[in-house]
Amino acid sequence: MQNNKRQFGFETRMLHAGHIPDAITGARAVPIYQTTSYVFDNTDYAAQLFELKQYGNIYTRINNPTTAVFEERVASLENGTGAVATASGMAAQFITMMTLLEPGDEIVASAHLYGGTVTQFTHTFKKLSVKVHFVDPTQLDTWAAAITPKTRALYGETIGNPKGSILDISALANLAHSKRIPLIVDNTFATPYLCRPLDFGADIVVHSATKFIGGHGTSIAGVIVESGKFDYSHFRTIADPSPSYHDLKFYETFGHYGFLMKARAETLRDTGGCLSPFNAFMLIQGLETLSVRMDRHVSNAKLIAQFLHDHPRVAWVAYAGLPDSPYHDLAQTYMPKGPGAVFTFGLKAGNPRQAGQQFIESLHLFSHLANVGDARSLVIHPASTTHQQLSDEELRAGGVGPEMIRLSIGLETAEDLLWDLDQALSAISE
């Protein structure tokens, strides 16, 4: 009873937050509750659960005890008030937006986003009458200029995909709050170990947990984390009586849990984008070693970025960890441990499209595939794969050229990765 003031560190919470060993079995590892549904105590309890007057397990599309460990653990690591896990990162951002927005609303988003996000925002949101204005994330004025009375949120990636631009989170949070709208940050590339956007004023964090959080490349997943600090009292979708919940006012009733309760009990329930308990278990295994892995990812990435920077067949390297990067100072502010392990570089070649092909075909250790954040090193040529749905205009706005190669640096022996890149660069014909 003497000391109830201990603030446990990040690594301790990676292993323990969100899981108290079970009272009956004492199971030390998190058990997999592979069940769709849960027996109610009695009819009164069931009614209370369905009215959200009790917190409890109803149906795995809404919540699950294994998934809850993953959710609380990520919330703890991000310094958030809670979390909602989703089937994928795309589902995380979709559920976030469908909780916040109504037809006719607008958002202002960074143009330096994952191609799939740009497609979702541009085309799927258009069907829902939501308009997204894309702006150069490095120019604060362009964000301010794009905000209209219909704007309901700002959106960006901590480390912009694919150019490695670093979001000025504090400045954007101040801008958003001056308009009484939330700032949503996709923190996939940084992970909460390298950067915690909520600490810098962001209101909602979304992740593709498929990437570094899992780390093993086995499971697709997403998660939404909220700070609990944003005042939604004027925000219609969160504050007004909800017709799909007996006119429940989520913000008045649940306060700092209001957004997340609505995201779970309404949007997750209605869109069906829940995480499977088995995948939640896999992600928990990943979280337990997050800091150790990220330190190695970053140290390997720094070595490789410098190597490429000095290589005669490389035109440019877009990694904010390099001293001459225009984003180096912002990276120091927001992620002093290092700006992740995913970055792009440009080949110096007469025919960059062909050179890109030759380079990728010559690699031995880098896996050619459409993912990042695996324990293994990965490579892709965005113009012909992840960004191929984008028009030329969208490609240019996203900063993707035909010479661009994206790397996700894994945990292999650094010298082996350098060797592989060097021999593949040498294989490019003049």
Binding site: N4, A23, G26, K53, N63, A68, T81, T253, R264
Partner: protein
């Protein structure tokens, strides 16, 4: 289910009180003791409207086994329990007075709680009246401020965790239900 033994971790989020007042009025071990020792809870300002926050809290506490006494001058009965216009009209003893009234109303409610010989006073989220708190403390009552009794109960019985919230509880000890 929550941690079985005393808490060694800090619980700090979601309060507007400064750290020194959080230490004074939100001590986790005191909160758990109040939740464990309390049997009868008078909820002052409990609404008749089933979609108001106070009703959510009242119905939760009743289901969890507490005797809930509604205090509301505009109602005869809430949650199937007889309602009273003020604390002094409640016939039997009251362990805990849970307040859902504006801060300005708190001094008078605390005076009545002292007269009723209640053991503790709980001011719900953002209902902050330090003068009323001091009055209660001087009379030997325990005081909790700027916390929700439903959320706190859910934190320590494990149910808040089931909806993905950050309970801030970190322990490797086996769970045991405390109340």
């Amino acid at each position: 289910m929550g941690p079985g033994s005393s808490l060694v971790c800090d619980i700090r989020m979601n309060s507007v009180l400064p750290p020194e007042l959080q230490a004074k009025y939100q001590d986790p071990n005191r909160i758990r003791r109040i939740l464990a020792d309390t049997r009868t809870i008078a909820i002052v300002g409990l609404s008749k409207d089933s979609q108001r926050p106070s009703y959510f809290v009242g119905s939760y506490l009743k289901y969890e086994g507490y005797q809930v006494i509604p205090v509301n001058p505009t109602a005869d009965e809430i949650l199937g329990e007889r309602a009273y216009p003020d604390l002094l009209s409640v016939p039997g003893p009251v362990d805990l007075v849970d307040i859902f009234r504006p801060p300005a109303a708190c001094v008078e409610i605390v005076q009545q709680a002292i007269q009723k010989q209640a053991k503790a006073v709980w001011m719900q989220l953002r209902i902050i009246n330090l003068e009323a708190a001091q009055l209660a403390e001087d009379a030997g009552l325990e005081v909790i401020i700027d916390r929700c009794i439903k959320m706190e109960h859910g934190r320590y019985n494990g149910s808040l965790h089931w909806v993905g919230m950050n309970t801030e509880l970190v322990t490797a000890r086996k769970a045991r239900r405390y109340f």
